[in-house]
């Protein structure tokens, strides 16, 4: 995709020597940063927990634990690509999950109940999109903050604020089913369905964003909305679709979490919008829009999961998880700032 900035550095060492070392390393970190971080984190965790960290069970645990955030993050990424934000995804997750659980308890057939979670998400996202474009809210922050409260309230309203448990297996399939692969070395190896699903979803989003006209227009809107508008792109319609996609993915996350917990609980997803934003930023997207790759977001989600997993395995308080994730967000954005500095130098 990109021309190679390193090559130009090799060709003209004199000009590069004028820049401080840290800045010279940016292009390198830019491309390989997330991989380096993941490998380094993996190495540290492996050294601390050699018996456990690389065990099949732990690896699959990480994917099970990050799946819901993975769904929220990829939806959030599409929104952030347009320089927007969606604060409502955690609440929309709960709304989808509770709609599913309550309708299942009311005797709605499972295929309908299962579809209701993503459909509620889609509807909430659509409303967000309409509010941002047609009601001309000054910033997506406002509309989606409103939706954060409305969706949470609605989730509580339809469920009476109490959890509903006991879901049929087909609904639980996505969040909890495992495929038995066989026995290796005395260990039963199961592959969580949600792992395969996550890979599939990220692949589809890669196709969508890199290889469809819609996806390229999403990037264009993030790069320069005015350019997109005068190029004849229907910016409003594109944004509505973008927020609908984000809501839909929140609904999918609700379905996964319902399957994983065999229940719907109305405070599900509280604060998860911030985790999704964190994963997207760590994954290399920019708040200014138009920047970031699907694979980077996958890395961002994985890093969040690795931090939590590593600290859990080492019996470290969750307070440290919060501190570390915060520090990594700041670091990730700082790297983005340095990258911009470099961009203005040549």
């Amino acid at each position: 995709m990109t021309a190679s900035p390193e090559n130009s550095g090799i060709e003209s060492p004199e000009s590069m020597q004028k820049l401080p070392l840290g800045v010279r390393l940016i292009p390198f970190f830019d491309r390989y940063g997330i991989l380096i971080v993941i490998v380094a984190m993996g190495a540290v965790m492996w050294a601390l927990q050699p018996d456990v960290f690389l065990s099949w069970r732990n690896i699959t645990n990480i994917f099970k634990q990050t799946a819901a955030n993975g769904m929220l993050s990829i939806g959030m990424f599409v929104v952030i690509l347009t320089a927007g934000i969606d604060l409502s995804v955690g609440s929309v997750l709960a709304l989808g999950m509770m709609t599913l659980a309550v309708s299942n308890a009311a005797g709605v057939p499972w295929p309908v109940a299962l579809a209701l979670s993503p459909m509620m998400g889609l509807a909430a996202g659509f409303v967000n999109g309409i509010g941002i474009t047609k009601l001309r809210m000054p910033h997506p922050f406002i509309m989606t903050l409103g939706m954060l409260f409305m969706a949470r309230g609605l989730a509580n309203l339809i469920s009476g604020g109490v959890p509903y448990s006991g879901l049929p297996d087909p609904i639980r399939f996505l969040g909890s089913a495992r495929i038995y692969l066989g026995e290796f070395d005395g260990t039963r190896i199961n592959l969580p369905v949600v792992f395969l699903f996550t890979i599939l979803v990220y692949f589809l989003f890669w196709i969508l964003l890199e290889h469809t006209v819609f996806g390229r227009r999403v990037y264009a809107i993030g790069g320069n909305p005015e350019a997109a508008r005068v190029s004849g792109i229907n910016v409003d319609r594109t944004l509505i679709i973008v927020y609908a996609i984000c809501g839909f993915m929140a609904g999918i996350a609700g379905l996964i979490m319902a399957g994983r917990t065999n229940s719907g609980f109305p405070n599900a997803g509280t604060g998860m919008e911030l985790e999704a934003i964190a994963a997207v930023i760590i994954g290399g997207a920019s708040f200014f829009g138009g920047r970031g790759q699907v694979l980077g977001i996958f890395g961002g989600v994985l890093i969040m999961g690795l931090i939590k997993n590593g600290l859990n395995l080492n019996n470290v308080s969750t307070f440290w998880q919060q501190i570390l994730i915060g520090a990594i967000i700041v670091l990730a954005v700082f790297i983005d700032v340095l990258r911009r500095d470099l961009g203005t130098r040549h």
Partner: protein, 302 residues
């Protein structure tokens, strides 16, 4: 990605059994001990008992009591690491049920503390709310003349805790011959407790005693009694011994409240799970006891 695939491959080939020296027990609490005296006491009970019994203990909790996925992940991760027993206060009994099932399927012994889980056949170690309410009723009986008018502020009686406290107080107060003139719900809420109390005293000016199923409603009721200048004649006992209530007891407004015993939850939890590990059996419910908090000991709960 490559690294992960390699890692996964290495995991398949080299899956290693965890070697255990001392036994390890996971204590998974609803909320962090830091800043919360209740969970701090559970943690202290567990770690002191574990030291006494010579086992390793890992105490973990999600950052907030609403962070259900964090608690599930912690249990999963510790299971991957290999623990022998789990003492858990589930943030959400239903949502935690699948991972508890997974632990039991792995042969790990599990007990619930503080909050009863949804899994069948797992021992619950916690406060016997009915016993606690009886304790409060007994205290009212001892301080109010026989046959006097008393009232009960119920919690939400469709919940097990609300029902147990309502039943325990009703039995206790009627057993010693007091006249229960009102049993109404304040839905655990301070403002609702106040409103319900106002209605009760309007119809029952000779009210002498009140049992409030939690301190919040009790503190609301005290406001109502103060406004009606009836606080001196009414002996009010609450439940939970939260710091506001302890302060009210010290100020001579609330007569008493009932404290749970979180230290015992931690200690009994360790003891019981070790019993299970060594092949013993447990009663389905183990009471950790309740303590009456009056002017004498309220300072400890403030």
């Amino acid at each position: 990605m490559h690294k992960l695939i390699l890692a996964a491959a290495a995991g398949i080939i080299g899956a290693v059994a965890t070697a255990a020296s001392a036994q390890t027990i996971l204590v998974s609490m609803k909320g962090p001990g830091a800043g919360n005296p209740f969970w701090a006491a559970v943690e202290r009970g567990a770690t002191e008992k574990a030291a006494e019994m010579g086992v390793d203990v890992v105490v973990l909790s999600p950052p907030t009591e609403s962070d259900v996925p964090a608690q599930i992940a912690q249990v999963e991760d510790q299971l991957a690491k290999g623990v022998d027993g789990i003492v858990i206060a589930p943030t959400d009994p239903n949502a935690l049920a699948p991972v508890i099932d997974e632990a039991i399927a792995d042969g790990v012994s599990v007990v619930f503390i503080d909050t009863k889980g949804a899994n069948e056949g797992v021992t619950y170690i916690g406060t016997d709310n009915q016993m606690g309410a009886s304790l409060a009723a007994k205290h009212i009986c001892e301080n109010v003349e026989e046959g006097a008018d008393v009232a009960i502020l119920q919690g939400i009686v469709t919940q097990s805790t609300g029902k147990a406290r309502a039943d325990g107080s009703h039995e206790g107060l009627s057993a010693c011959g007091l006249n229960i003139v009102a049993e109404q719900t304040g839905e655990w809420d301070r403002a609702k407790g106040l409103a319900v109390m106002e209605n009760i005293i309007t119809g029952n000016p000779n009210l002498k005693g009140v049992f409030a199923s939690n301190d919040n409603m009790g503190l609301g009721a005290i406001e109502a009694l103060k406004n009606a200048d009836m606080l001196d004649q009414v002996f009010l006992v609450g439940f939970d011994a939260n710091p506001d209530a302890a302060e009210s007891v010290l100020a001579g407004e609330m007569a008493a409240t009932v404290a749970q015993n979180p230290y015992n939850m931690g200690a009994f939890g360790i003891e019981s799970v070790l019993t299970l590990i060594s092949g013993g059996s447990l009663d389905p419910v183990i009471d950790t006891g309740t303590v009456l908090v009056t002017m004498e000991n309220a300072e400890d709960f403030n």
